[in-house]
């Protein structure tokens, strides 16, 4: 039995195969799609998820975001973890490895 994933600085997040993070042109919005599921995302979540590629760690994602938005790294990293944890609890994010 897989344990419930706990997202920390070193976690390398990725989308499970049945979960798609996709841009809908007609609606001009990014969404998460899974069987019988549709998750709408706020702009910050979209920025984070665009960097989720199964290669980058939470820490490196956060670092880049904090530079990009000129925001303190520790706030960003806790926001990133919180958001990914939330998605992971619902089965939309898993760990690479």
């Amino acid at each position: 039995m897989t344990d419930i994933l706990k997202i920390d600085d070193a976690t390398i997040p990725k989308f499970p195969k049945h979960v798609k993070f996709r841009y809908n042109k007609a609606r001009d919005e990014w969404v998460i799609l899974a069987p019988e599921r549709l998750v709408k995302l706020d702009p910050i979540a979209v920025e984070i998820l665009k960097m989720v590629n199964g290669e980058r760690e939470v820490k490196s994602i956060s670092l880049e975001l904090s530079k990009k938005f000129n925001a303190p790294e520790d706030t960003i990293i806790s926001d990133v973890k919180e958001m990914l944890q939330n998605l992971s609890d619902k089965g939309f994010i898993e760990e690479n490895g």
Binding site: D3, P16, K17, V31, E36, L38
Partner: protein
Amino acid sequence: MDDIKNNNLKNASEHGIQAPLALLAELSHRCPLQCPYCSNPVQLEKKTGELTTDEWKSVIDQAVEMGMHQIHLSGGEPTVRHDLEDIVEHCSKEGLYTNLITSGVLLNPDRLKKLESLGLEHVQLSFQDTDHENADRIGGFKGGHAKKLEVAKWVRDVELPLTCNCVVHRQNIDNLENFIQMALDLDAERVEIAQVQYYGWALKNRAAFIPTPEQLDHATEIVEKARIDLKGKLVIDYVIPDYYAKHPKNCMGGWGRRFLNMNPKGDVLPCHAAETISHLKFDNVREKSLKWIWENSEAFNMYRGTDWMPDPCKSCDRKEIDWGGCRCQAMALTGDAKNTDPACSISPMHNEIFSMAAEEARRAPPEFIYRKYGVRFNSPI
């Protein structure tokens, strides 16, 4: 006539309703199985009337232009169509999340591999029971269950995500734990446990399917426990039969609010059972655009929003939560689609209908009436 709406009903925009999220595409009503609870209409569509490949492709283009996210390729049995590959490829190219809902019995490893490589993203495989003999009896297809177990393996071999669709009722509900175990053994991501919904074929067979309240409570307990035990490992979606619920389910997220359903000949329906409401006139993609239909089709606008509701729904504070329940069930059981869904405990007809159903559940189950072409269907009860 094509561009103006032909009635005085408010249309989708006037209701503040956006484009639909997903399209349920019934590619064909043909199916080698004969499940007596099949959700297809009792008057099944013939092969000759089915939309062509190009017609489906145009529908897909229109769905994408409207902003739909997902397509469910369903039936009947969608794999009877030899152009399924073309259709999947087109859906995927256009960016729709592409899901195949199948009984599996016509699939082989090569075809699955091909479908995966063309962009299929998810497979929902239906199971009638976990017991071979009983499963084959319910589906009316010998050797079906064994084949399905094999198909599930092939699905995983090509690394496609898998959902096991299990329809449960009094003749298999005692195997519920086995269903969940089967989904685990088959390495599925998700299992959908749905009680039979009673319209069309299923209503004809209600006495054969309806569980007792005790069976149902037991089932709910099992699911709740499994959900905790298997968190993070298996997603369990559970639909209880609304016969025993206090309030009806929020059917399709409300009539004409989120989804649309297309039958094999291109009629556009607010839900797969909408044809049981015989006074509704459906528009067809051979004559009108999908967008026009979503906006203006009378069949959609008739029960959109809350204006059409009589009491008790009209004055109920849940009316924008469950939208008065299921119109098809109201039609089937009360004779008027506008009535409050009798699954609701507030419906004046609830007690009479549901004590009758509960009574059926206590008696021995009758023989099935199998889903077949050409069976005539008049009065539901």
